[in-house]
């Protein structure tokens, strides 16, 4: 791809990317995700600091089932289980099965919370753009179960770590419509 082609391809990817919440029933290769994640990190990280973040990728049915049971344990803490527990189990298991992959982004607390959050966010945005080129969609998820101690314990998040976000990933079946964005010019002040 020439530089000019890359420039217009990137512009198109940035504009056309949509947050995707429902996915095609198509297998997602963990190897592909790893390759894209490596390139995403390359676009963000510098030698200034050792990265203080890491990832857990749930891509196999077994891995996702393991995570599902951890989530359900987390909800049962709250007593949500009293109401139709089997139905809830099934709904949760179905929902998780429908999402081809989960990428959990974990950051170690090194006293620079904002910088760490920024780095992880930038890596995930690069990943999202690279994935979109393959018709793989993503959405960020910051649901409350992520902050529950039993969930964190279950997926191996340490005392001095926190979950920044969980990216849901999968092939996009249908691209949702979106509203137009406010022109950048309207949000720009010249000093």
């Amino acid at each position: 791809m020439s530089a000019t082609q890359q420039k217009s391809a990137l512009s198109r990817l940035v504009r056309e990317r949509r947050s995707i919440r429902s996915f095609a029933k198509r297998d997602l290769s963990p190897e592909l995700i790893v390759e894209l994640l490596q390139a995403a990190e390359a676009s963000v990280l510098s030698t200034d600091q050792e990265p203080s973040h890491r990832f857990l990728l749930l891509a196999s049915p077994e891995g996702k089932a393991k995570a599902a049971s951890i989530v359900m344990d987390a909800y049962s803490e709250q007593g949500l289980y009293k109401w139709l527990p089997n139905k809830l189990n099934q709904l949760m298991a179905d929902r998780i099965a429908q999402i081809p992959a989960f990428l959990i982004a974990i950051a170690k607390d090194r006293g620079q919370k904002e910088r760490e959050h920024a780095t992880v966010s930038a890596v995930l945005q690069s990943l999202t753009l690279l994935a979109w080129e393959h018709d793989i969609g993503a959405v960020w998820n910051t649901e409350s179960f992520m902050h529950k101690p039993s969930f964190k314990l279950g997926v191996g998040v340490q005392e001095d770590e926190r979950i920044v976000t969980i990216l849901y990933l999968g092939y996009c079946e249908k691209v949702p419509k979106t509203k137009p964005r406010t022109p950048a010019e309207k949000k720009l002040t010249y000093l």
């Binding site: 791809m1 530089a3 890359q6 420039k7 391809a9 990137l10 512009s11 990817l13 940035v14 504009r15 990317r17 963990p30 790893v34 390139a39 990190e41 390359a42 676009s43 963000v44 990280l45 510098s46 030698t47 990265p51 973040h53 890491r54 990832f55 857990l56 990728l57 749930l58 891509a59 196999s60 077994e62 891995g63 996702k64 393991k66 995570a67 620079q112 904002e114 910088r115 959050h117 920024a118 966010s121 930038a122 945005q125 690069s126 999202t128 753009l129 690279l130 080129e133 960020w140 910051t142 920044v164 976000t165 022109p183 950048a184 010019e185 949000k187 720009l188 002040t189 010249y190 000093l191």
Partner: protein
Amino acid sequence: MSILSLFREAREVRRFSDRPVSREVILSILEDAVWAPNHKLREPWRFIYAEGAAKIKLTDSVDARKHPRLVDTLTQAPVVLIVTSPVNPDERIDSDDFGAVCCLIQNVQMLGWAQGLGMAWELADYSACEELLALAGVRSDERIAGILGLGFFDSLPEKPAVSGLDDRLEIW
């Protein structure tokens, strides 16, 4: 045919050429960048643009001993773009908005890189830089998500060797 190489080769730029940067170039990058993901379409970003005399004023307002890296970027880059996100008492909204603005900044990084424009992304605790905040017009209900130094460059900085993903990726 892929943009993979664009991402693999991208890097921070801290030394820039004299080539003038037009407002149109930056604006066209921002018009793409605002397509960053953001919750409930809150579009939580705001941009403050400084160049020339205005940029010098901002630079002089910062104590180089406290923020050497920032002063270096402010001095070297032809254009400075401060990007803010709103402060929200709801921690989740606050955090979501900050993340969205960071996604936008990463869009700026990559869109700029694709046209030979380099970027340095400064982010630290600037809450004590009262003069800078006042000059830039950053409100008390805003936080700085990045002070970006932007410009064309002649010589490509070395690609940093970063720690591999192997030790930091677990797959279930």
